[in-house]
Symmetry: C2
Subunit: 236 residues, 2 copies
Amino acid sequence: MTLQYPRRQQQLESLIQRLGLPENAPIQWQLLDLALTHSTLSAEDNYEQLEFVGDAVVKLASAEFLLETYPDLKVGDFTAMRSVLVSDRILALIADQYGFDRYLLVSPGAMADTAGRESRLADSLEAVLAALYLSTHTLQLVRPWLDPHFQQLSTEILADPARQNYKAALQNWTQGYQKTLPEYRTQEAGQTHNDPHRFTAEVWIQGQCLGRGTGRSRKAAEQAAAQEAFLALSRD
Amino acid sequence: MTLQYPRRQQQLESLIQRLGLPENAPIQWQLLDLALTHSTLSAEDNYEQLEFVGDAVVKLASAEFLLETYPDLKVGDFTAMRSVLVSDRILALIADQYGFDRYLLVSPGAMADTAGRESRLADSLEAVLAALYLSTHTLQLVRPWLDPHFQQLSTEILADPARQNYKAALQNWTQGYQKTLPEYRTQEAGQTHNDPHRFTAEVWIQGQCLGRGTGRSRKAAEQAAAQEAFLALSRD
């Protein structure tokens, strides 16, 4: 195999080592190379397609982690927790801990765009997750190093005292920081009593939909939407 | 192992046969049983947690399928096509072809809720995908029977003459059917020239956000959002 420049292979091997994966891990190096190439460097061969796959890989890895670690949690909690675990902000933090900046090939112009740094880091992490997944078609090269991050984050989230009443917590937050109230847009999606998807709610803050949820009651759907929004905001 | 009632094992084996999977496939029958149990039948042991995992399984399966089958497609096309492939409507159609109604344990009250049938079918298909995925931690029991559906659907989508100009196609549609125009909410998310995520757009129709997209230009982001909305609407 030939990578883009002579020392690239060594560079990628050093990342694999940092992730704690074994030296002889069956990695498709060309995919990993692609996963760490930004579109400003090559309009054809860059991480965009892998990022598309990686979006699903990180969702699956976090769902499996949550189901195994907290088998008794409600589905609303799973959904709210996953939306934090797979958020750009969290993925960028994880990528940063492994120094992705030094592995990502990017044009000097894009590098100067500091506002875009978070999404570059998050997107390239997703692409790397896809490259590792596609190397074995399992999560065996993903979960050993990603799970400890998820463990730490989910412990933090579960320790959050606001967890019991997100509508109140969200309202406190928006009143305190933005002098506005959250707006709920809630609909009855079905007619079945006790159906957990009977109601759907969105919560809007300053023209942006920040959370969605479903529930057996209007109130439950709104709590679920508030939870998603609150967890997202409180990580910022 | 003990399933909920004596003939359940046979019933589940007959579904596996219908899916075309080998008789000796390494299936976790208790998970499959759970995947086909609605929350109105058991508030504790039902498909909700598996559906949460299955949402990611079907996204991953469709992403892998699209990447393998159409390696030269643009990422915007992947995203738009996947949003159709994993939509409730399509998943319910697939579940219906395998007669999921006769495998899903559901209370008589919920059964009578015909409006909720589509989401019951889609949700239980997602849960079954999760049960099959978790049986091997690979997609080997999923893709053999799901890929042919994706193949047929994606061929249809790609043959769609509107594909080239979704903003125009969507406008024709809303003017014709609803006497309204789509509303685009477009933002500049970054500053980097040529960044495929520089702009983000949402398209709103009658108070609902029906599509989202990103692009290198305002126009490209809006086309991507229009595409997602148009493909969703044109499947209905």
